[in-house]
Amino acid sequence: MERLVVIGAGMASGRLLEHLVEADPNAYAVTLFNAEPRGNYNRIMLSPVLSGEKSYAEIVTHDDAWYARHGVTCRFGERVESIDRDRNVVVGAKGEVPYDRLVLATGSDAFIVPCPGHDLDGVIAYRDLDDTNRMIDTAPGSRAVVIGGGLLGLEAAAGLRMRGLEVTVLHLAGHLMERQLDPAAGYLLRADLERRGITVMTQAATKCIRGDGAVEAVELEDGTILPADLVVMAVGIRPSVALAKQSGLAVNKAIEVDAQMRTSDPSIFAVGECIEFAGQLFGLVAPLYDQAKVLAATLLGQDAAFTPKQLSTKLKVTGCDLFSAGDFADGPGREDIVYRDPARGIYKRLVVEDDTLVGAVMYGDTADGNWFFGLIKDGTDIAEMRETLIFGPAYQGGATADPLAAVAALPADAEICGCNGVCKGQIVTAIEGGATDLGAVRATTKASASCGTCTGLVEQVLAATLGDAFQMPTAQPVCGCTDLSHEDVRRLIKARELKSQPAVWQELGWSTPNGCHVCRPAVNFYLLADWPLDYQDDPQSRFVNERKHANIQKDGTFSVVPRMWGGITTAAELRAIADAADKYDVPTVKVTGGQRIDLLGVKGEDLPAMWADLNAAGLVSGHAYSKGLRTVKTCVGTDHCRFGTQDSTGLGIRLEKRLWGSWTPHKVKLAVSGCPRNCAEATCKDVGIVCVDSGYEIGVGGAAGMDVKEVQPLVKVATEDAAVEWTVAFVQLYREHAKYLDRPYKWLAKVGLDWVQQTLGDAAERTALVERFDLSQTIYQTDPWAELAMREKARAFAPIADLTLEAAE
């Protein structure tokens, strides 16, 4: 009998031994080393053990009796010190064992972020039963921080929460499980976990772990400090290859094996998480089992070859239904099929390439996961069922995906309006009773009268019931990604407290994975205007001018306009501008209509350095490119002008300093004239103030672009303070209600000046608007030049690589 030594009693080697004893129990005398003081258990079921939903006894796959029955000599709790390949001997801590064949199944180690404090007591990994028990033995009410929002980290978080801990998950990427999920599914998962009382922080980088001997807190890069009694590191695993390396086997990222699981030494083999095959590493259980099967065959002298297969992922958190399989990576000719059912929290996305399914992500309804996975694995031609593919196998075979047919087929007791509990039958009764349009149905049944997301469904019920007698209304949707209008989207973002773009896409049923160039800037603005503290501005959802903080010109160069408060400048500022114009070869320098200086023709990569120079002279960005405050034009007022009635320049500077930096639906231009002669042309501005002897006349809704509009009188106030208060309140009301890319005059035409006057006339409402504006300014009133001129951010303005330079060498 040949001697087989196996190092590591994990799931791969466990399966290997099963295959061996089943095929030929007398082929080998087996010795099994394991560093853990126990045999093989089902490691992937540790999470339910942690949560209490399984017991350890239930997940033991090979107990002592099994090893005894199959004559396996167990050396558990004993570390292997070295392998002597010359003598074919494994050196254990308690003595040597000779081998004819050796299998390395050393698995992987947790990757511990090497931040300061990672070695404190209370910082643990999540790999084995001991880690699990350590978590189980932490008292309820303790605070746990889980670093890593992948599969393992989230399972640990859910389990710890079940056991009564206060849990925070820190994740470096923008959404959870970013390798397996897209942002929409990541958003749903996050919402699900937050419903369990778990705090989730994305884009959270750990700086250090604090504590005196034992963990006390986790400090993030942004300075946030999270008190903690337990820190679980679940950022990833790294193959355990020290022994292989020390033994001189070929090791790259992991132990290199061929398709027969043979290492660089023909009598040594390896399986599991410690191997690398064709440049690939393996962390999920399915390929490990395939490897075990191949290795068993190899050891028995049979032909077998390992080929990596497509993988699917499920999260073992009870009640979290998510499924992800296949490939979302690049490749030409791919197409997405997206299905969302916001009411039931369902999201499905399929990726199709060349009439085959290559990837699938599902959340909330994973029924068809295995069916889709099968299509992916088999490379089935789906051309025939492409139109209805997303509806799953139950839908294949004749039925059409016509939404109207689907609504017509709904039973009478199917709920249409979840908010008001209105069923289809009630709506049909109302329609038959004479309610033949949406408004009438709404008035009689209250269907779609609350959140409004079921409006489309109600209309379909109308269409299905009335047939041709019903004309589907054509409210102008934002874009092809949604049927909702801008107004609907704004209302729903507020009403349903949607605070991220994936939340909007999911809850409002976007038909594309991540919007388009039309809806993304609008949604980005609505979110940052409504939730300044919760939402983080997304540069990738801005037009180039706002992303680069400079106006792109038709030749791809940019213009740079520093701010000149109220049109006032100094000799020093002018000198700095002139120096910058020289230094960066600015071909055109122009004085603008907004009383400042425009430097045109600047190369994109020069922007950060130029800003830094201008910044150094005290100049900040003029936001000449933004949907935000542009300029406050002034005349010289009482200081110099013999007609001046008030300090118009001073008020202009004060307004500009208050309003700059805020994002608005469209650009906003102001002017303050010192007397009714109106030298600052205040009557064609978005907000124009004309000073008179008795105070300030504020007009709004002027324009001098393609449409020329004179301002409408908003109010006349007595003091400068009141003028500032009204102006700020007006801008905030416009920010909160207008459609993206509507100038104030367009917005006023929709809502009416009366409503604006009424709203702002309420002193309490005015104060509240000013407070909300100021709150938003605490986030957004920052000079983008100063921020972007910093080295790190400046890199993004330069080419990522320059291959022409290398070629020239």
Binding site: A329, D330, G556, L803, A807
Partner: protein, 110 residues
């Protein structure tokens, strides 16, 4: 093909873009998803707009100058517009972005 390492995946924000200067001209690299990058010419076939400055959505980019939408996969203009931009083979390996040196007029240095 000769694959050239041109930088780290994380140097490009998701749904963002960066430029590579190459023999054939400026090439735009678009990161359409966590682990998905496309390369096309940086020059819009319509009026020469810098595509790397456009908004990236799905596997498409919208030119910042006149809102022409291009497929990053096929290089074809989308919607009513007609035209094509050059695309280049690119792949991701271990968090690095590799571009086909032959296609962009650069022999591998390695």
């Amino acid at each position: 093909m000769s694959w050239i390492d041109i930088g780290a995946l994380d140097d490009i924000p998701v749904r963002g873009a960066r430029v590579v200067k190459a023999e054939v001209g400026c090439i735009a690299l678009f990161r359409t998803d966590e682990a998905e990058v496309y390369a096309t010419t940086n020059t819009c076939a319509h009026k020469g707009g810098p595509l790397s400055e456009g908004i990236v959505h799905g596997r498409r980019v919208t030119c910042p100058l006149h809102n022409w939408v291009w497929s990053l996969e096929t290089g074809e203009a989308q919607g009513a517009d007609e035209g094509r931009i050059a695309t280049y083979p690119v792949r991701i390996e271990a968090g690095r972005i590799l571009i086909d040196g032959d296609a962009v007029g650069k022999r591998s240095a390695a």
